[in-house]
Amino acid sequence: MPWLSSSKTKPPDAPATVPDTSVLRSTALQASWRRDRWVGRRRVALRWSLYYLGRYGLPGLLLLSMGLFVWLRIVPWLAAPTLQPVASVAIAPPPVPAAAPDQPASSPAPEALVPASPEADPPLRLERQWAAVSARLISVQEDDSPAPPLKSDNALHSQEP
């Protein structure tokens, strides 16, 4: 068996270099400092960014959104959706109910809607009587006759010396 014959391990030709304690310590410390520097910078940057985001970022975002809202309200055509021209749509006529068998065939046809004629709805015109009424009101307001003296109705005040 080859593995039984090589049970004795041969000593290495050159002795392994054991690191010095001080070298090992300084190396470990330097690696630790390097890691501390990166972790510390990252954590401080995160804390500062959170601070500035809460102090300036969110109020700025709020102001920006409010300004955008007001601007869109002032200029409504920006917020209104663009109206597309409606294509000619073929509207199917409403279904004609089947004639009842007991109903006579000469039933009156449904009346079509007729737009009102301009003579039926005359345009607005100035009422001529309003001028006389307004002139009478103005004459009453311009009457500057002295008002009659007021009589005191309070009996308690009239009995005081």
Binding site: R25, A31, D36
Partner: protein, 135 residues
């Protein structure tokens, strides 16, 4: 390539370079650490327990380090990670912007705290207030 330790304002750089013990990132240590020598420890992993330096001592909590249920007592304490417990710095206490500290801290001489540090607890000056005011 030599890398300098973290930029500090109060804790001397040579104190951070003289760290003798290290709990690496990803490692967990459950127990107390105590010594009477002026040494230092850096925690990059997770520690549950107390750290006591009877004299001198530097404690550096790395940015990835987390210490829970602790009472840390040393001359210099430099915090970049997270601490839940009590901290006593006999000389200087420095809390960086990446640090989170939940618990009370007390110091005898100097303190420096970054404005973005997260501290929930009481910070107490243990020195003589009247003597400090007269100076």
């Amino acid at each position: 390539m030599s890398t300098n330790p973290a930029t500090t304002r109060l804790v001397p750089t040579e104190r951070l370079s003289a760290i003798t013990s290290l709990i690496a990132e990803g490692a967990e240590f459950d127990g107390n650490f105590q010594t009477s020598r002026d040494q230092g420890i850096k925690i990059d992993g997770r520690l549950k327990g107390n750290i006591t330096f009877e004299s001198g001592g530097t404690v550096h909590v790395g940015a990835t380090g987390v210490i829970e249920n602790t009472r840390i007592e040393a001359d210099y304490v430099f915090i970049e990670g997270k601490i839940i417990g009590t901290v006593i710095a006999r000389k200087a206490l420095e809390i960086t912007g990446s640090a989170t500290m939940i618990g009370d801290a007390s110091y005898d001489e100097l303190i420096d705290m970054h404005p973005r540090a997260r501290v929930r607890g009481k910070i107490e000056y243990r020195g003589d207030i009247d003597a400090a005011a007269s100076n």
